[in-house]
């Protein structure tokens, strides 16, 4: 088969798997697991073949027009360059791991068939976004991901947190998608085509009339999808979904889509200095804020969620300094270790029976219960903290190196201010990242107190996947030498000495300071007993997690917060802790800015409907009702009254008839 045909099959197979899974879920439950895993695995194999055949050479372009659609044509188009090929392989790897893991994680879940089908659909939509060469087709995948995330985040819809989180995820991303759609239209109007190649050609020849406006509109959609400030608030709440979904959304799909989109259309953004500055500031604020917030979270998955936001900040930072090679490199390595972190967190939550770090820090020997999760999570956290030689170090250094290049004026592609912003924010965030990674590791695995509950080994499907993902978390960094630059723009991705020393230095400082703080506070842990574990620790992991999510707010007073004086994050953040735990009150701001006005508008409409419109309706009904009341009074039930009335009427009629007959 030609490479084009193989590439078409890559998004198509999970889609067919999803359709078959939805149709057969009830009638043939035995086929659900193969139908979930095998198409994804097959599309991973095909994506690998496509990537090998493409080999980072000339981009593969293919297009077929379906039907004339008026002014600007919409075509089913493929555009596979080195970025697309590698990101598709990442999506395939993570999706396969997540599907395999889910067979163990949700093995007793009654809604597993629809869950697996939606994950397949999600994967297929992301692969469509990755391979698409036409912006409208890309938008289709983009929106399918939006609706799938709504369903998947709300998988535990019995809990109010999950219902609220799914609606929030959908609405917040839609808030960005509306400007995004307008931006796409504006871009296509200027370029005369939705084809990415033609758009890039137009940009190269300077044919773009409103680069800043278009870039900022597109940026809104990207901020929503990739959870960048100020539209990131949906992502921590999306932790109410099952852990494999979090891994899928956070590692390879959904949030990666926004970064990948900018990487594809980077010349459009680079055409506007203002957009690049905005991108840099957005990245810097996102990185710093999420780093601080991650240090204050109590839910292990929310820590990881904020870390995802921060790492995405690195990627947008790399894009702000016009180095998409570094951005996609970090996307790849982050995809591997973040998927690993989430899947390991799922195992830990199952073993501990709680998602609260405060409760875990009061359990002894949790790491002995889940040795696989312990070792793989240690690897992933080291990669997250960018400690050499793990993959995160190389990709993060490539970002910082690119920022340094721009800041010192070596390249002219991006404004120097953007370079400085990204570099400084990136270094501070490296410190914060190491600090919260260290805190998570210490609280989860170095707890002291009563032994963690023991309910046997975790399912094999769940632990094998962890080791499968640990390999790329260790080894992807080596690709920075020689291999990856060929696939990407050919820019050097190897770490430079200055940023390596600075980045690793601040990371080590962050880790050591957190360790010292933990040593200082850990004595307090025994004095303040805390913690609640799931009611059914022997159930499957999904049930344990749903119970943990449902019980967190009633036990600790909030989904993100626990009154734990032994938390090193509390000591490190000081008075900032209270604000960081709630994400710096951004939800409250949104509540005041959007939710309240909408609710006020709704109550106004309700008032108009109830009091104004209904008044006319009631007024129209009043006259007949009064007449009815008058007539009803005659109905006394006394037959003799009726007969009297009949007689009176007869007499009147008779008299009238006589008068008429006599002509009077």
């Amino acid at each position: 088969m030609t490479t084009t045909n193989l590439a078409v099959l890559v998004p198509l197979l999970p889609f067919l798997g999803a359709a078959a899974g939805l149709l057969l879920g009830r009638t043939a439950p035995g086929f659900v697991r193969p139908l979930a895993v095998l198409p994804t695995l097959a599309s991973l194999v095909l994506a690998t073949v496509v990537a090998l055949r493409q080999g980072g050479d000339q981009a593969i372009d293919a297009a077929t027009g379906l039907t004339p659609t008026g002014s600007v044509p919409i075509e089913l188009a493929l555009h596979i360059d080195g970025f697309a090929a590698l990101v598709a392989v990442l999506v395939g790897v993570v999706a396969t791991c997540v599907q395999t893991y889910s067979t163990g994680y949700l093995r007793e879940d009654p809604r597993y068939p629809s869950y697996a089908a939606l994950v397949s659909l999600f994967t297929s939509a992301m692969l469509l976004v990755v391979y698409s060469g036409d912006l409208m087709v890309l938008l289709v995948g983009w929106e399918i991901m939006g609706i799938c995330s709504y369903f998947l985040v709300g998988h535990y819809w019995e809990t109010p947190e999950a219902r609220a989180a799914s609606i929030k995820a959908f609405l917040v991303t839609k808030l960005g998608d509306v400007p995004f759609l307008i931006g796409l239209f504006a871009l296509a109007t200027d370029a005369g085509s939705f084809r990415i190649t033609k758009v890039l050609g137009t940009v190269a020849s300077g044919g773009l009339d409103h680069p800043t406006l278009i870039a900022l509109l597109l940026l809104a959609g990207v901020a929503g999808k990739s959870a960048q400030f100020p539209l990131h608030t949906w992502l921590p709440d999306a932790m109410a979904g099952p852990t494999p979904v979090s891994a899928l959304i956070h590692a390879a799909t959904m949030v990666a889509a926004g970064v990948y989109f900018i990487a594809r259309l980077l010349p459009v953004f680079a055409a506007s200095q203002a957009a690049m500055i905005v991108l840099a500031v957005m990245a810097a604020v996102t990185m710093l804020g999420s780093g601080l917030a991650a240090l204050a979270q109590d839910d292990i998955k929310r820590v990881l969620a904020y870390s995802t936001i921060g790492q995405l900040g690195y990627m947008t930072g790399a894009l702000a300094v016009a180095d998409r090679g570094a951005a996609v490199f970090h996307l790849l390595s982050h995809g591997a270790f973040k998927a690993l972190l989430f899947l390991a967190a799922g195992v830990i939550i199952h073993a501990a029976g709680t998602n609260s770090l405060a409760a875990m820090s009061r359990m002894g020997h949790l790491r002995a219960r889940v040795p696989d999760a312990y070792w793989t999570m240690t690897v992933a956290l080291l990669a997250l903290a960018a400690i050499p030689p793990f993959s995160g170090f190389f990709s993060k250094e490539s970002v910082l190196g690119a920022a340094e290049h721009v800041a010192t004026g070596h390249t002219e592609q991006a404004p120097g201010a953007a370079g400085w912003t990204v570099l400084i924010a990136g270094l501070i965030t490296a410190l914060l990242t190491a600090a919260y990674a260290m805190r998570l590791w210490l609280l989860a695995f170095r707890g002291r107190g009563a032994d963690a509950p023991d309910h046997g080994r975790q399912p094999l499907t769940m632990t094998v996947v962890l080791w499968m993902l640990a390999a790329p978390s260790l080894a992807v960094g080596a690709l920075a030498y020689r291999v990856l630059p060929d696939w990407f723009d050919g820019r050097d991705l190897t770490p430079t000495l200055t940023t390596s020393v600075l980045g690793t230095g601040v990371a080590l400082i962050g880790g050591i300071v957190t360790y010292a703080a933990w040593r200082h506070t850990t004595a307090l842990a025994a004095r303040v007993p805390l913690g609640a574990v799931a009611a059914h620790p022997e159930g499957d992991a999904a049930q344990v997690e749903a119970e943990a999510i449902a019980s967190h707010a009633p036990v600790y007073g909030g989904v993100a917060y626990a009154p734990d004086p032994a938390d090193p994050g509390r000591l490190l953040l000081g008075p900032l802790h209270r604000h960081a735990a709630v994400g710096f009150h951004l939800d409250a701001v949104y509540r005041a800015l959007f939710v309240r006005p909408v609710q006020a508008g709704a109550s106004l409409v309700r008032f108009l409907d109830r009091e104004v419109v209904d008044t006319y309706v009631r007024g129209a009904g009043a006259l007949p009702r009064w007449l009815g009341i008058a007539v009803r009074r005659a109905q006394t039930g006394n037959v003799q009254t009726y007969v009297s009335a009949l007689l009176a009427g007869t007499v009147v009629l008779a008299v009238a008839a006589v008068l008429v007959a006599t002509g009077a």
Binding site: R625, I629, R632, R633, Q635, T636, G637, N638, V639, Q640, V643, S644, L647
Partner: protein, 129 residues
Amino acid sequence: MHLAYPAVLSALLFCTGLYGVLARRNAILVLMSVELMLNAVNLNLVAFDVWLSKTAEETLHSGQALTLFTITIAAAEIGIGLAIVLAVYRNRGTSDIDKLRDTAESHDTDGPDRDALTAPQAEKAEATA
């Protein structure tokens, strides 16, 4: 005999019956009053038939034939009426017309909602009655 005598008699009978129907409380007496009114009409029919047949060449005496019909039907009617009154008396312990007001519109009903609400109650009342 002059026509005025039976006519006046029947008018008196009719008025007596009418009074009985409108004023008596006992259902049986009301029925008897209805009979009085019927018989007043019968009397009229016979009297006018005789008066008309005096001048006619030949006649079918249809008025008197109609009287026979009326008497027959009145007998059937009074049978059914008395049976109903008996049944009502057995059910309610009274045959007082003033107290048989089930068809009355209750005074507190004032809107469509309340009608819907009282409908099952009314059905229940009928069922127990």
